[in-house]
């Protein structure tokens, strides 16, 4: 295909494609650059009692520091295990009946360890919430009566600040979860349950709305075919409400991540929130830049979690358009 002027349209297309992509790359870079300039300018103007507010270079330095600290800690860990083996060997030599045990490393958790802890906690809390909320949402969406019965409870619990749950959760876990050899640490359960309680509601509501809004033609088809109710859910309800379910899941995961950091700060449970709080308590000249670094990492992980959810939705859902935002 060529135009009357002889200009090949592929060239126009290529140009358009190029300009679009340049835009997609250049504009964010320009945005970030402007942000960095404003940030470093503003930072240099703010004097705190712990020194200047950290600018981009201070954060970059801390990224390197935190990574090095992580490596140092891993070396210490290796030495720890080696010492332990030597000690065990000595004891076995002295006391042949002794069955040597290897005990876990007792050193501090590095920044990278804390990221891992937070990720595990948020995913566990989210998974538990999803396992409860999605079936519940479907049931509510299918049954008007159930909806009328449960709706007031959902409406009351939905706006509760997640952190109001934390003291209750802490006390209940301490009272109920008593075992000499616990499988999970109490602090993990506390954070996890708080996360679960907070990301339950958006998922329940979105799922039920999605289910109740299914095209009536499809319901009729199901009725004509006399599908058993489980098959009806599996073949009609689930596929039709997947976009709505995923919207709820994305909302929930976003909330879960924010709640978790706050819960960790408040309860001093391991994770990024504890890292931030410890640094605040330390009050060293590096503390603010370390907190700032954590803030970026928290934001970036939140972004990745959201993208991950979106990718999952693209794979699972038939309605590709709904996953484009």
């Amino acid at each position: 295909m060529t135009t009357s002027e002889g200009q090949p349209s592929w060239a126009t297309n290529a140009l358009r494609w190029l300009s679009n992509h340049i835009k997609a790359i250049v504009l964010p870079i320009v945005g970030i650059a402007i942000f960095l300039i404003i940030w470093s300018f503003a930072a240099s103007k703010i004097d705190t009692s712990l020194g200047k507010f950290p600018g981009p270079t201070a954060v970059a330095t801390q990224v390197v520091n935190l990574y090095q600290e992580h490596n140092t800690e891993r070396e210490k860990e290796a030495a720890f295990y080696q010492r332990q083996e030597e000690r065990n060997a000595k004891r076995v030599a002295k006391d042949p009946n002794y069955v040597p045990k290897i005990r876990a490393y007792t050193g501090k958790e590095t920044f990278i360890d804390q990221i891992g802890t937070s990720l595990i906690t948020v995913m566990s809390g989210f998974a538990v919430a999803a396992a409860i909320a999605i079936p519940l949402g479907i049931a509510i969406g299918l049954s008007k009566n159930l909806n009328t019965a449960i709706n007031p409870i959902i409406q009351i619990f939905k706006p509760v600040s997640p952190l109001a749950w934390l003291p209750l959760v802490t006390m209940v876990v301490s009272a109920v979860y008593v075992s000499p050899e616990p499988m999970f640490a109490k602090s993990f359960l506390n954070s996890m349950i708080t996360v679960t309680l907070c990301c339950l509601w958006p998922m329940v509501i979105n799922t039920s709305v999605g289910v109740s809004a299914i095209n009536s033609d499809w319901n009729n088809v199901s009725r004509v075919l006399r599908l058993p109710s489980l098959v009806h859910v599996q073949k009609i309800v689930l596929p039709a409400s997947i976009p709505a379910i995923f919207t709820g899941m994305r909302l929930s995961l976003g909330i879960a991540w924010m709640v978790l950091i706050a819960a960790e700060m408040l309860a001093q449970n391991p994770g990024l929130g504890k890292f931030v709080w410890d640094e605040f308590q330390n009050g060293s000249s590096q503390s603010l830049s370390r907190i700032m670094t954590a803030v970026f990492v928290i934001g970036f992980i939140g972004f990745l979690l959201d993208r991950g959810m979106l990718q999952l939705q693209r794979i699972v859902s038939w309605d590709k358009a709904s996953a484009n935002r």
């Binding site: 009692s49 045990k101 410890d278 308590q281 330390n282 060293s284 503390s287």
Partner: protein, 453 residues
């Protein structure tokens, strides 16, 4: 009668004096332990015992975890989340007599002497300064007494403004030290009346004391919520470093070589794991010795360890200010206080009954103990909480295994658990641990025999 009881105590502790040889110490019953601490320099023995491998030498694998505040730490030890912790000396005592949370907590190891200070905000300092006599070089004469603060407090109360100050916990050393200093200067810090449900400690108060966790003190002062505070290091030096306040007096000047923190474990833990208890005490004793060895030669290294973010985490310079034998008052006014932090010398690690009794007298003085108690009651409580018997077993085995020389503990020979009468208080009142009720009656401000709120 008091003397007879004291004699009884002497007997019980001398059973395990250094000269008696103990059987060989067995392996620890519990090897994986978790200890809590608050971000303060006097947690050093725990950090050093870990970093120098003293815990590992005992076959103990210890995880050390910073706690948010003293209440969380105490609850952690009581409910078993923590096996032991760096504690305020008043915590095991108060828990045992049931003030606050009731639990049986004991201490086989006293962590240090001194280490606290009282800081006021720049604004208060400006108002206090004209009331303080000057040295020939123009610097204020130390120790600064609360007499200089009294006119300031009076001005605030005339203006109808509350004079708020911070301390770290209702039964903390800091609460008693701040109260002691204020009362010695004629400022009433207020009474507690637990039997009436009043645990704020502000009855009749001229200065209103409230609780703030140690690391948050500087931030709270900066926010203007409190005008001054009493806290352990490095949070007084941090105020100087940040330029937000001026430490006016150290606890060394309020009571020379006063007992500070203890290492607390539950009585159940000590009974269930006797070897572990002795072994952890051994590790802590060795760490304390290391901290004071060769005239504090190891202190710079200790400061470096403490400034790690998982321990105290403040800057090296801030921690070093007090840990290396100096203390900086008003910015630029750095003075030598060689005994600001004592971890081992002067038998700092030995849990003296008389130290526990002093805390009890202060609890009675300020109404936390609402009724009169006979002297014998003070001795009984002290004996329940402070456990020199465990301490001496640890010492004995350290000496037997030639890990430490007997000369390190020579002055503990025949120790009866009572320090000789203490004469180094800012108000010159003498404390004799064998006569608690007599001591309580000596104070101008405070409850005396027969008083009840």
């Amino acid at each position: 009668m008091g003397q007879a009881l004291v004699a009884g105590l002497c007997l019980s502790s001398s059973v395990v004096s250094v000269s008696v040889s103990a059987e060989e110490l067995g392996y620890p019953e519990k090897e994986e332990l978790k200890f809590g601490f608050i971000k303060l320099t006097d947690m050093a023995p725990i950090a050093i015992a870990y970093e120098k491998g003293y815990f590992e030498d005992e076959g103990l694998y210890v995880t050390i975890e910073a706690q948010a505040n003293w209440k969380v730490l105490l609850d952690g030890v009581i409910d078993g989340r923590l096996d032991g912790a760096h504690m305020l000396a008043g915590q095991p005592i108060a828990a045992t007599i049931g003030y606050g949370t009731k639990a049986e907590i004991i201490t086989p190891f006293s962590m240090d002497l001194n280490g606290n200070g009282i800081t006021v905000s720049n604004e208060i300092w400006k108002q206090m300064k004209p009331n303080i006599p000057k040295q020939s070089d123009g610097k204020p004469v130390h120790p600064i007494k609360a007499d200089a603060l009294k006119p300031v407090v009076e001005k605030y109360s005339e203006a109808g403004k509350p004079f708020n100050m911070g301390m770290v916990f209702p039964v903390s050393t800091h609460n008693y030290e701040l109260r002691y200093w204020l009362a010695a200067g004629g400022i009433h810090p207020g009474y507690y009346a637990p039997h009436k449900g009043d645990t704020s400690g502000q009855i009749d108060a001229q200065a209103l004391l409230s609780v703030t966790p140690p690391p948050q003190m500087p931030a709270t002062l900066e926010a203007g919520t409190i005008y001054g505070y009493c806290v352990g290091e490095p949070w007084n030096q941090q105020a100087v470093f940040k330029g937000i306040g001026v430490p006016v007096v150290t606890d060394y000047e309020i009571w020379k070589d006063n007992p500070e923190k203890v290492f607390g474990i539950t009585k159940a833990f000590a009974e269930k794991y006797p070897n572990t208890t002795i072994r952890l005490t051994r590790a802590l004793i060795r760490a304390a010795k290391w901290l004071d060895e060769n005239n504090n030669a190891n202190r710079p290294e200790a400061v470096k360890i403490l400034s790690q973010s998982n321990y105290v985490g403040a800057d090296y310079d801030v921690i070093a200010n007090s840990m290396t034998g100096t203390f900086e008052y008003e910015k630029g006014d750095k003075r030598a206080v060689p005994d600001f932090n004592v971890f081992f010398r002067y038998n700092a690690t030995y849990p003296f009954y008389s130290d526990a009794i002093w805390y009890l007298t202060q609890m009675r003085r300020w109404g936390q103990i609402s009724d009169d108690k006979p002297d014998s009651w003070y001795f009984d409580v002290a004996k329940k909480v402070y456990r020199p018997d465990i301490y001496m077993k640890a010492v004995q085995s350290l000496v037997d295994e030639k890990i430490m020389p007997a000369t390190d503990f020579a002055s503990l020979d025949g120790e009866d658990g009572f320090r000789s009468p203490q004469t180094h208080f800012i108000d010159n009142i003498v404390y004799d641990g064998t006569k608690p009720n007599e001591y309580i009656n000596k104070f101008n401000i405070g409850l005396k025999a027969g008083d009840k709120i």
